[in-house]
């Protein structure tokens, strides 16, 4: 908007609703601030939305056809491309990627927990998700 003024800028009106979905998805799904620490992981049901949404993307076959497949090649997002836990030290891992990796693990734990909880029909304790934040 104002950033481009009246010039012949690209997408002068901002991204809006017309922006390429792939451009949006690769940013909002894969990038953006990840909250580390103990704040968010304190209500299992709610935290599950985040988890579900990300797992959903990775599990939808159609998504792959549409070209939403970057997690497959991103060690921080994909369980398939992911090296064994703790083996990321050697690679060019950014702090964010490391964080992603750690969150992935937590997500996995949470999901298992919730599945278990659903089976048990009893509220799952959140304690197991509060593992050491230190990598």
């Amino acid at each position: 908007m104002s950033l481009f003024g009246d010039g012949p800028g690209p997408a002068a009106s901002g991204q809006g609703s017309s922006a390429n979905l792939a451009d949006i998805l690769e940013r909002v799904l894969d990038k953006g601030v990840v909250i580390a620490g103990d704040i968010q992981i304190n209500l299992l049901d709610i935290e599950l939305l985040t988890i579900k949404l990300r797992l959903l993307v990775a599990s939808v076959d159609k998504a792959k056809e549409m070209g939403i497949d970057w997690w497959e090649h991103d060690p921080s997002l994909s369980s398939r491309a992911r090296p064994a836990a703790g083996a990321v030290d050697g690679g060019p891992t950014t702090a964010l990627e490391a964080e992603n990796q750690r969150l992935r693990e937590e997500l996995r734990l949470l999901r298992d927990e919730s599945r278990q909880a659903q089976l048990d029909r009893s509220p799952a304790p959140a304690e197991t998700t509060k593992d050491d934040p230190a990598p």
């Binding site: 481009f4 909250i35 970057w70 090649h73």
Partner: protein, 282 residues
């Protein structure tokens, strides 16, 4: 997007319910988030602000049953919902980002309550401020380079005689076959060189105006709507004042007639450059 329709008989919950977090900023609540209250987010819930100290978050209420629905519907519906959430998320982030520096949250960051958001803001204030300072005055610009498919419009290389002459049988089928193969190989080598040159050219052009760069995955598949094969998909962190110059520099590398295309998107909030915000418990 019809399937993205969400049950909205009770659109907004009280502030006690779970909230979806879009972005955080150091701006005053009045400076972000559509003063008229007409800014809506995920599931068309009105966007509001939560402030703690001097940091403000943009949030909207989400209904637990929307969360429960995820993963339970047919794939088409899930994807439509995902698109809705992604677009809504970005629209809210963008509206704030036009006015000030913001940290865009990752999609589907949901807190159990507004109080929890406040707690997060208080505990993370220092980290949020540091990150906002680092990114102050900087925007993200997407630069994608494409090479048109060789088949498109005959291509710039003069391979016309071969295809045109296929009507008349060649003297030696074996030789013709080999020639064809050689020509194809040459064309491919030319294309590879061309691609490498364009990618290098675009990156060199952008680098002069940017402070940082991230290479995104190349876009392929149904969602890749470019004018050819995506050969570079970069995010650049650029001072607001340099966006025009970067745009001019990278688009100057394009030569549509020769199948070389450059697309610029943004400016975006600095999605690709934010670091994790750590909240210190205790």
């Amino acid at each position: 997007m019809t399937t993205a329709q969400l049950p909205d008989d009770h659109p907004a919950q009280g502030p006690g319910g779970p909230v979806y977090l879009y972005a955080v900023t150091a701006a005053r609540p009045g400076e972000v988030g559509a003063p008229g209250g007409h800014l809506t987010g995920v599931a068309d819930a009105p966007v509001r602000t939560v402030t703690a100290g001097d940091v403000t978050a943009l949030v909207s209420s989400v209904e637990p049953r929307h969360i429960e629905m995820v993963g339970q519907r047919p794939q088409e519906a899930e994807l439509a919902w995902l698109e809705h959430v992604a677009r809504a998320h970005n629209a809210v982030v963008e509206s704030a980002f036009r006015e000030t520096t913001v940290l865009p949250m990752r999609i589907a960051t949901v807190h159990p309550s507004e109080d929890s958001v406040g707690e997060f803001l208080r505990k993370s204030a220092e980290a949020i401020h540091a990150e906002l300072r680092r990114l102050d005055g900087l925007v993200e610009v997407g630069v994608k380079a494409y090479r048109a498919a060789p088949a498109a419009a005959g291509g710039p290389t003069t391979s016309a005689p071969e295809s045109a002459a296929t009507e008349t049988p060649p003297e030696s089928p074996g030789r013709a076959y080999l020639e064809q193969r050689r020509a194809r190989r040459r064309a491919r080598a030319d294309a590879d060189r061309d691609i490498a040159a364009l990618v290098r050219g675009v990156r060199d052009a952008a680098a002069g105006h940017a402070v940082d760069q991230r290479a995104h995955r190349l876009q392929t598949g149904e969602l890749a709507e470019g004018p050819g094969e995506n050969i570079a998909n970069d995010a650049w962190l650029v001072p607001r004042g340099a966006v025009h110059a970067l745009h001019a520099a990278v688009t100057a590398c394009a030569d549509p007639a020769a199948g070389r295309h450059v697309e610029v998107t943004g400016p975006w909030a600095p999605y690709s450059f934010v670091r994790p915000v750590t909240s210190h418990g205790g």
